[in-house]
Assembly symmetry: C2
Homo-oligomer: 198 residues x 2
């Protein structure tokens, strides 16, 4: 005996999400069965709305419900710096800090020969186009500190520097509040390498 068709189909939909295996999917599907109908209808509507109402900003590639996005259109922000991130969630992390007041550019991934992601698969052409604007003085590369993130940063730096624009990279080192004892070798190396005079 199999699960009744409606629940089997919902389990199947849940397993398409990242990090959700068949056991978790079954648990979630059964939970939905017991949820108030109002919450389930809202959930279904929210899924559809995310696909229908959100789009990527044609300027920076961030997700937005208006194009260009509120950040690109904000006259209160500095238009001199562009901070380049891998993914729209990174923009949210930066904004939560409430210290950066420039613009963003979302690559939607990183260079990865293993997965066949080359420069043309990323949102790079539109970044180069934005740099034609003489207002821009600095590009801050904030890709993750992974092998792919580093390679992407290097690639962008080589591409942008010849245009005479300053290219910087986020500092790497010990996380604030972390213990040296538990830091990995790469992080310690970066912390030593990037040491600053007091």
């Amino acid at each position: 005996m199999q699960y009744p068709a409606p629940i089997a189909k919902l389990i199947n939909s849940f397993t398409k999400l990242p990090g959700i295996g068949s056991k978790t999917a079954a648990r979630l599907a059964f939970y939905v069965l017991d949820m108030p109908e109002r919450d389930v209808l809202e959930f279904a509507q929210n899924l559809i709305n995310v696909k229908r109402e959100l789009t990527y900003c044609s300027v920076c590639g961030n997700i937005t419900d208006s194009d260009p996005c509120p950040i690109c259109q904000d006259p209160g922000r500095s238009h001199k710096e562009i901070l380049v991130v891998e993914d729209a969630r990174d923009v949210m992390s930066m904004e939560r800090m409430q210290e950066y007041n420039g613009l963003y550019h979302v690559l939607h991934g990183v260079l990865s020969p293993m997965e066949g992601t080359g420069p043309d698969d990323l949102n790079i052409a539109s970044l180069i186009k934005r740099l034609e604007d003489p207002t821009i003085e600095e590009v801050i590369i904030a890709t993750n500190a992974t092998a792919e993130g580093e390679a992407t940063a290097m690639y962008l730096a080589r591409l942008i520097k010849p245009a005479g624009i300053k290219v910087t990279r986020l500092a790497h080192g010990l996380a604030v509040g972390s213990d040296i004892e538990y830091a990995d070798e790469m992080t310690l190396y970066r912390a030593i390498e990037g040491r600053r005079e007091l």
Copy 2:
């Protein structure tokens, strides 16, 4: 800056699911954004269908798309035994074994004074009603081997035995393929207590 409204709402819907915190919910919501529209619409429809098309069997309490459920209606199954489980997923586990050919009864929970779940909150009254049928010879209690599961089993046994119906409980002991070295004390105790002559 907050997430755009549609994504914030979807994140909120995901956090209502068990075991999904705000970080995971954000990851899932962003993943949905990149899923093919067809898959998302199907997901939304599956959510709604689970609520609309599924119901609980009025006889045994199992989930079903027809009432009574296919198991209760199956003339090929033995109507002499009723196996009592906590939850509809347990029925699926038993069916996967393909060895049990009797009927089921789903309690939808266990007695739990801590959570305020008493006998009236469980699907017990309808079980007692089913036992009026003289065909039934045995009730097999298959609640989990937790404190609440044991207490529920004990409660049901005391309730049913006076009617002259045989009440049994699933055997507890070492899992097949497991190592004695890693078994907990309770499991070992149950394995010794329930030892069988060879």
